[in-house]
């Protein structure tokens, strides 16, 4: 694995193929440092993403203390989704686990923006690098504001140009 697990790095765990494509777009953006991010295989659902975090990636995060992970999941219009997932994160890992996603599902975002998912992912990376919210300010994404800000604070120094 090219990712240096002993240095600051970010894993992205997408719940499905659509979120994977968002993550791919983010990772190929040239503002994102190539060797600081790895997009994992999609796991087939938001609850499976949480299960994977508990059963697999918690172990990895405990072993590699500079590694972070972001779960890219659909919120399915549920206001309680973030809180539910957060309460399943082990306390000692909470500051290195982030939960982001589309308020409904990526396909709706794609239809609204009339852009491909990879292109949307690239724009997300541009926003993060440039401190803008052209994409993240969209009605289907702006619920991520606090969590995104928390993530950017910690990952920007090693992830973004």
């Amino acid at each position: 694995m090219r990712l240096n697990k002993y240095q600051d790095s970010l894993l992205v765990l997408p719940e499905d193929d659509a979120n994977r494509q968002l993550a791919v777009g983010f990772s190929v953006n040239l503002n994102v440092k190539e060797n600081a991010i790895q997009v994992l295989n999609e796991v087939g659902g938001w609850s499976k993403a949480v299960d994977s975090l508990e059963k697999t990636y918690s172990h990895i995060l405990r072993k590699y203390t500079k590694m972070r992970i972001v779960l890219l999941i659909d919120f399915d219009q549920r206001d309680d989704r973030l809180a539910y997932v957060q309460q399943r994160i082990p306390d000692e890992l909470r500051d290195r686990v982030f939960i982001l996603g589309v308020q409904s599902e990526p396909e709706r975002l794609k239809a609204s923006l009339r852009k491909g998912l990879e292109a949307i992912g690239e724009s997300m990376a541009d926003d993060c690098a440039n401190d803008t919210d052209e994409i993240w300010g969209h009605v289907l994404l702006n619920h991520n504001r606090a969590e995104l800000a928390r993530m950017i604070r910690t990952v920007k120094p090693f992830l973004l140009e």
Binding site: R2, D16, D17, L30, E34, Q38, N41, E118
Partner: protein
Amino acid sequence: MPSALLIGKNGAGKSTILSALKLLKCIGRGDNRNSQLVSPKDFSAARTEVPIRFEIEVLIQEKRYKYSVSLELPEGFRELRVLEENLQVEGESIYSREQAQVTLAAQKRAAQFLVDWHLIALPVIQEQSETDPLHIFKTWLARMIILAPVPSLMTGESQEETLQPNQDGSNFSEWFSGLLSRYPAAYKRVDSYLQTIMPDISDIQNELIGRNAKSMVVRFEKNGTYLSVDFKDLSDGEKCLFLCSVVLAANEYYGPLFCVWDEPDNYLSLAEVGHFVKALRRSFKDKGQILATSHNEAAIRQFSHDNTFFLDRKSHLEPTLSRLLSDINIQGGLIDNLILDEISL
């Protein structure tokens, strides 16, 4: 679309696309005898009564070039002959041809002349200058990089220099030498890429082993201890990583290039495939274009539906169809659908 992926079942037609591009590259490099480029067995479903047509449309320096050539095998002929050939730029004809008759469009009047119909005209028409569309297009074709490396043929030995890599990578060291000879600063790019995947790499030497012969040696270093390894003794996967480093450097220093890599995931460890493909995609993002084929799910996952073409055909006697995945209704995960053979056109 700076990068794109072709996927599909075995026999869907991915390699045929590469063969067609290789033919066009050969034309760009000056090969123009029909019999050297195409044979009667290349006719689709052995239907020699239907002409073979090659067509390519490319954007070069923001101008749209469209080139086509059709070849036929009339009854009684042993060698294919040119039926039609055309080059247009932004919709305006540069030249057109019907059988032996070539019409060259000039600014004020057209010129007509004959070319042996067993020869492709593009390589033989005289270019006026380096800004001549003919020159620009031929150069673009000739510089195409088509790769399907066979690492066992990459020996690290060279007697010449070139900027034209062979499809199988067998002249990799000639390409490496040619790149550094013309663009010495390219070593920086080669080294920076290799350092990310082989942190213990120290340098690459091209040692003189004979009058005109050189052999590549790779040096590794850890804690002040050095190890020299002949390039030919590197693993197949490592050789492919070196090949990738030169591709990236070539695109940066004498690009933009159009690179086609057949199954770049071959020979690579599972941990390496994703990063390798992502590095290629990122390198060609702002300059050049890369087209890959793959059956490997780790490689496939580095692309999205907006830049992945699915190729399919119902039988060997039917034409290959292709469509972007984003234009196909796929229920569930892409990889699962591919494994279950649930996608068809």
